[in-house]
């Protein structure tokens, strides 16, 4: 005992932060017997890993040794395509991989040590589906989805969008509430397209304000990108003009209140004279319509858009959600639908769109459908290096955590917070200490970390704005910055973790569950113990280095 304390650099009897783990320690006693009986064997069986001899040389903590089986219609369609191409799918992921992935993809949040342990030791065969159901009810699911939609909708106070802080807050809240209440997507879209009123009081009117231009063509371009996944600029002139006509009667006027703006149907809008005489508009599918002066043409367009047989509407949103979960659209990029950019699996996209329409545009149920598929649950270790595997979902693609999720994860494991602020006045945005980055409403909140790690500027609504490419500057920051080092060294949570009173194995296990959501392998246990014996002598330094190494590992930094 004494020697363990010395190794971890504990001040004897200091009682650091054990309080925070009282609940965890209670749960721990349930499995204590496992450890007495032979900790390693039991825990590996519990997490679904085969003992080494059975698994063969390929055994790793990430992929099961058994081949994948279709679990729903998605898998039939994906596997059929893979068979056609002669690409074997990856093996299914192990429980810890699925657990971490589902948390990160659904709620943008790491599982806690307790959540990880509970799930891994649960022997219920239906536990993955149950976990998905639980995650879909979490508040963070709403926060995280709102963040993604705010990127698509360009929710940003400042240049070059200039929504200003009050409108940003109102708009973000409206988006978040709609997602929380699972308002059918066709209704959300219709409100965004047709709302009239003050940007403070009728938040969806901000859809037409969150743009760099207010001409009919600029409005139509935003609609085409958001709901049809098409790049308006690449359309022929005639098609552009036909669609712009639906947005030629959107009026904007300011009020006596600072930065308030009314968006309204203006039959006599000055820009309507662009159409002088010609009250005809053309839908993007080529159908003509005559607009009558007393009806807002935006409504005519919205009603066309959300019809169940519209070839864009359901497909585009289903493809977006697929891309958010699987790292790549069935049509890729998800906002570049065009005839010469074919879908990699048309039957799959048709099926997802049909399911969405059938469920009356219930977005949450689409998440559930995808998350429960074997395709989503495949390991990230591919079974083939065929380059076509990626576009056909033969394995779950490795992706670096987004800037917001990464800083939240670092804060969570270390129990620290970040300070976010906005330089934009009237009024200044108050951001309470401890606010998660995924919950920030405003894309112009100042944060060097988020900038460095490629947060999208929210200037265009293009999904390619987000940059997840690794850079040397990012690596320097994670490996060697005072910002990260301070989080690790001064974290009461991490100190409590490494000072836990138990065997070295138990301590290392808790560290692994907290940071990587899994139990350590034998080789990892050995490596950690070697380092604690032979690493730096400075008090606490070796333990800090172990945590430092884990947060800098590919496994921590990448969805896998």
């Amino acid at each position: 005992m004494a020697s363990r304390r010395k190794v971890w650099g504990i001040k004897s009897g200091s009682g650091w932060g054990l309080r925070g783990f009282a609940a965890g320690a209670g749960a721990w006693t349930n499995v204590k017997t496992c450890f007495i009986a032979g900790w390693l064997t039991v825990s590996f069986v519990a997490v679904g890993l085969q003992p080494a001899p059975a698994a063969g040389p390929a055994a790793n903590p990430y992929a099961l040794a058994t081949p994948p089986q279709p679990l729903n219609r998605i898998d039939e369609l994906v596997f059929a395509r893979l068979t056609e191409l002669g690409i074997p799918p990856a093996n299914p992921s192990t429980d810890p991989v699925f657990l971490r992935r589902a948390y990160l993809d659904v709620i943008g949040t790491l599982p806690t040590m307790e959540e990880a342990r509970e799930f891994l030791l649960d022997r219920n065969p239906g536990k993955r589906g149950e976990l998905i159901d639980r995650l879909l009810e979490r508040n963070e699911f709403t926060d995280y989805r709102a963040m993604k939609w705010c990127e698509v909708l360009r929710v940003k106070a400042e240049f070059p969008i200039n929504l200003w802080p009050n409108a940003v807050q109102a708009y973000h809240r409206w988006i978040r509430t709609g997602l929380r209440d699972n308002v059918p997507y066709d209704r959300l879209a219709r409100e965004l397209l047709t709302a009239n009123g003050s940007n403070f009081r009728v938040p969806p009117v901000n859809f037409f304000r969150a743009l760099q231009g207010q001409e009919p063509e600029a409005l139509a371009a935003a609609v085409a990108l958001t709901f049809m996944g098409e790049r308006f600029d690449e359309w022929p002139d005639e098609r552009r003009a036909g669609m712009a006509a639906f947005f030629a009667n959107v009026g904007f006027k300011s009020t006596a209140e600072w930065k308030e703006e009314i968006v309204y149907f203006d039959p006599g809008a000055t820009n309507a004279n662009l159409l002088a005489g010609a009250r005809e508009a053309t839908f993007p599918d080529g159908a003509h319509v005559w607009l009558c002066a007393d009806k807002d043409p935006r409504e005519v367009f919205a009603d066309w858009l959300i019809r169940s047989d519209n070839p864009w509407f359901a497909r585009v949103v289903a493809n977006r959600i697929w891309a958010w979960l699987l790292g790549r659209g069935i049509v890729h990029e998800p906002d570049d639908f065009r005839p010469d950019n074919p879908s990699s699996n048309p039957a799959l996209l048709d099926f997802l769109a049909a399911e969405l329409v059938r469920s009356h545009y219930d977005l949450k149920s689409l998440y559930r459908l995808i998350l429960n598929s074997q395709t989503y649950q495949l390991a990230s270790v591919p079974a083939s290096d065929d380059p076509r595997g990626e576009a056909n979902f033969a394995a779950y693609p490795l992706r670096r955590l987004e800037a917001e999720v990464l800083i939240d994860a670092l804060c969570q494991v270390s129990g620290t917070t970040e300070k976010y602020e906005s330089p934009i006045p009237e009024p200044f945005t108050f951001i309470p200490e401890g606010t998660r980055a995924i919950a920030l409403a405003d894309g112009s909140i100042t944060s060097p970390f988020l900038e460095l790690f490629g947060r999208p500027p929210r200037d265009t609504g293009l999904m390619s704005e987000r940059n997840n490419e690794p850079t040397t500057a990012q690596r320097l920051h994670l490996l060697n910055s005072s910002h990260v080092q301070r989080k690790l060294e001064q974290s009461p949570r991490l100190r409590a973790l490494v000072n836990f009173r138990g065997t070295p194995q138990q301590v290392v296990t808790r560290v692994y569950l907290t940071l990587l959501s899994r139990f350590p392998t034998q080789a990892e246990l050995q490596a950690v113990q070697d380092y604690l014996r032979n690493g730096p002598r400075q008090r606490g330094a070796a333990a800090t280095d172990v945590i430092w190494a884990l947060i800098n590992s590919a496994e921590f930094l990448y969805r896998h």
Partner: protein, 456 residues
């Protein structure tokens, strides 16, 4: 024009076609044709990459410094305009006077030229900062790269630069108000050092960690490699290989020689004193060390110039610091033979209200003034001892030689050997030039031919 009467100033260029450069540009002869017509200085040679300047040190006067209290004093306008600074001092160039609180810079005036005709008319910080540093007004749906990112594109990795220090460095805090790299993407974002070079050690975020020995850096890196189970399992995966490459480069900076550029302990105490022990002064010293090692673009973001209140108190505090740092930088670069190849650009986003705002709540402050302001260019192919453009008697309007942001940055690009008409890579394939086309929203007074040395 407010040039020294007998200086060989600028207006009449040796134009073979008998028209001045400015005229050529005024006549709308933009593009390579216009430049070639405008004189033998630029044109095809610039396009082929001949350059005077190898590096730029941009001193960004964040917040907008008062032109009347720096390089465009107006003592004759009376105390309602010039406040307590009624006695501008002579410089070592006859006929040029600057603020009395800049005596060291007064001795270096032969090394720099003052731009007194700067104008754009924008009074909002963000828009003005964007316009001054990208040459563009916002609103056409694009976010354009700032000068540093453009230089990083043309002179950084992929264009011959091999250094481990990123080609675009910011001392110490990034402006961060919008992506400085614009559509060029994060490869061209500046590397912001963080930390404070006036402290020891200068903790450059990511490069210099306090309290971690090199030995520990080595041992914990080995530990990371042993514990990196996913990377070991997926050896050969191209995404993880890219991550591994960034790690290698990071450690070259952390443990290799490249990172030592930030170690001011290797400078003598006398040199550190000369620059002043302020954050700004020591930033100037670091900037000199960076350009010595070939870094093409260094920005010093110098905060504190948005002086709406207590303006003159702030000037008394800050101008001596500016004076010492900038004057020493120019002198030191010159002594080391680096000034010819290093372009020093001093400017903020706008000037400040010429008439002192005595009313509440300002009580003796100065507001934003985009109609007229000043800047300084030195070295890197720009002549010293000149003044370009002039404001009226009260510093409120610019006279006959206006200098718009694209004029200034176009001149900088030219002296760097970057054709202002060159095309930038655009993610959606749009054709975008380094500087914008002339139009109603993008006026021109012409390149700064008055002070541009001819290219080799």
């Amino acid at each position: 024009m407010n040039v020294k009467p007998d200086s060989p100033a600028a207006e009449s260029l040796p134009g073979r076609l008998g028209i001045t450069r400015r005229e050529a540009i005024r006549r709308g002869l933009s593009g390579a044709a216009g430049l070639a017509l405008a004189g033998p200085l630029t044109g095809a040679k610039a396009a082929s990459g001949a350059a005077k300047a190898k590096s730029v040190i941009q001193i960004w006067m964040w917040g907008g410094p008062a032109h009347l209290d720096t390089f465009d004093p107006k003592p004759e306008a009376g105390p309602a305009y010039c406040g307590p600074f009624t006695k501008p001092i002579a410089t070592n160039i006859e006929g040029i006077r600057i603020c009395e609180l800049l005596p060291l810079l007064a001795k270096q005036a032969d090394k720099y030229s003052i731009l007194r005709g700067l104008t754009h008319g924008i009074n909002g910080h963000e828009t003005a900062s964007y316009l001054v540093q990208t040459g563009r007004e916002p609103g056409d749906g694009q976010v354009y790269p700032a000068v540093g990112a453009v230089v990083s594109h043309f002179r950084g990795y992929g264009a011959g630069y091999q250094g481990l220090i990123p080609p675009y460095v910011v001392l110490t805090e990034p402006q961060g108000r919008f992506s400085e790299a614009g559509f060029l993407g994060s490869r061209h974002k500046p590397f912001a050092t963080g930390g404070d070079p006036s402290k020891t050690p200068f903790v450059v975020e990511g490069v210099v960690a306090q309290g971690i020995t090199d030995e520990r850096q080595h041992t914990r890196r080995e530990l990371l490699h042993r514990l990196d189970t996913l990377a070991l399992t997926m050896k050969g995966d191209p995404r993880l290989a890219a991550l591994g490459q960034t790690e290698g480069q990071a450690y070259d900076l952390i443990l290799g020689d490249a990172g030592k550029v930030f170690d001011l302990g290797t400078e003598t105490d006398a040199m550190r004193e000369r620059y002043g022990r302020s954050r700004f002064g020591q930033s100037c010293l670091v900037a000199r060390r960076l350009v010595e090692r070939g870094v093409p673009y260094v920005t010093i973001n110098y905060k504190g110039w948005d002086t709406h209140k207590q303006h003159f108190q702030a000037m008394r505090r800050m101008l001596p610091e500016l004076d010492r740092g900038l004057a020493t930088l120019l002198e030191d670069l010159s002594e080391r033979g680096l000034l010819n190849s290093t372009l020093v650009w001093w400017q903020g986003e706008f000037g400040r209200t010429p008439k002192v705002q005595t009313e509440a709540p300002w009580n003796g402050g100065r507001g934003h003034w985009g109609k007229a302001f000043c800047g300084v260019l030195a070295g890197g192919g720009f002549k010293g001892g000149q003044v370009v453009g002039a404001t009226d008697d009260r510093g409120e309007e610019v006279g006959e030689r206006p200098i718009y942001p694209p004029d200034l940055i176009g001149s900088i690009y030219t002296q760097l050997g970057i054709d202002p008409e060159a095309t930038l890579p655009h993610p959606q394939g749009l054709e975008v030039r380094v500087t914008p086309p002339i139009g109603p929203k993008s006026k021109r007074g012409g390149l700064l031919s008055e002070i541009m040395e001819s290219l080799p």
